[in-house]
């Protein structure tokens, strides 16, 4: 049977969202394939928990579907909007876990003792995840968005509701803390010759 070529794969997220709002089922599929992984990855790395990340990703995407009908063209990038929604949902969960607000909790010291001892995973990605989870929430969020999702500082500033300088500061502190946490595992992770 003749298969219609995938005409929508080259369309922008915003164009797809307009098509979705008009009832196009294919646009829903392409948007899901394109955007759901972003929401899931960010939530997974912020929360360190698969099931919670799935809930956050599904909820963030549901909010996107519901916002499609009233989406105002050119106001925000769809992916940036989704990162922000997923970030906020993940942050809410982190707050609930602790039972206190982030502001009240404040940022702990960057180089916390014991982080290296907590690194139990053998490979680099797992070691990074463990070290990331030991970071203060805002530092982790900034590092993930900058170095793992590859976003620009202005985009991260928009997502986190901060100035660009504050983002740079968070990212720099996060990287220092990660370097300190991973320092004790340099040889184990294959960096012993440096």
């Amino acid at each position: 049977m003749y298969k219609v070529p995938d005409m929508l794969s080259g369309a922008t997220d915003e164009a797809l969202l307009v098509l979705y709002a008009q009832g196009d089922g294919e646009a829903a599929r392409v948007l899901t394939e394109r955007l759901a992984p972003l929401a899931f990855r960010l939530a997974r790395r912020m929360l360190g928990d698969e099931a919670e990340a799935e809930d956050v990703a599904q909820e963030a995407m549901l909010r996107l579907w519901q916002a499609a009908g009233s989406w105002r063209a050119g106001e925000a990038k769809v992916s940036t909007w989704l990162y922000r929604v997923a970030s906020n949902l993940a942050t809410d969960r982190l707050r609930r876990r602790r039972g206190v607000g982030l502001d009240a909790a404040g940022d702990p010291e960057d180089e916390r003792p014991g982080v290296v001892q907590e690194l139990i995973a053998a490979d680099r990605a797992a070691a990074l995840e463990t070290a990331l989870m030991a970071l203060p929430d805002r530092q982790r969020q900034a590092v993930v968005l900058r170095h793992l999702e590859g976003l620009s500082n202005p985009e991260i500033a928009e997502i986190m509701g901060l100035g660009v300088e504050a983002v740079e500061s968070l990212t720099a502190r996060g990287k220092r803390a990660l370097a300190a946490a991973l320092a004790g595992r340099r040889e184990e992770l294959g960096y012993g010759d440096d």
Partner: protein
């Protein structure tokens, strides 16, 4: 606080690159749930739009209601013609009614033959005395 040195930078970049390659991926079950949500929201929106269209087509607007109250489009046409005639008579004035009538009924019928204000002879013909 010191900045990350070159060795640390290199190690972190390497680890970040490994993490990007090993990025967590959503399960097929999650993707299916998200797509099901998309379709449910879409179906609800479509149903809502259809209901709105049905509601609007069932309920006539204010203008349509006014036309019906006046007796339909035929009656409205008659009303419009009468209104236009009134405006025309108003513009031309009573004094020029003769020429207006000539325009209406043709030049052959002079204004003199259209006697709009009955005279004594007319009343006499009807057997009505003007005095006494």
């Amino acid at each position: 606080m010191t900045k990350t040195n070159a060795n640390e930078e290199r190690m972190l970049e390497d680890i970040f690159a490994a993490a990007r390659r090993e990025a967590p991926e959503p399960s097929p079950a999650l993707m299916a749930r998200i797509l099901a949500d998309a379709e449910a929201v879409q179906a609800a929106d479509t149903a809502q739009r259809a209901a709105t269209i049905r509601r609007n087509s069932r309920r006539p607007g204010l203008f349509a209601s006014a036309i019906t109250a006046l007796g339909g489009w035929g009656a409205v046409g008659g009303l419009a013609a009468a209104t236009l005639a009134g405006v025309w008579i108003g513009f031309t004035g009573m004094g020029a009614l003769g020429s207006t009538a000539a325009g209406l009924w043709g030049a052959a019928e002079s204004a003199a033959t259209v006697d709009l204000i009955p005279g004594e002879a007319d009343f006499a013909a009807l057997g009505i005395g003007l005095e006494g």
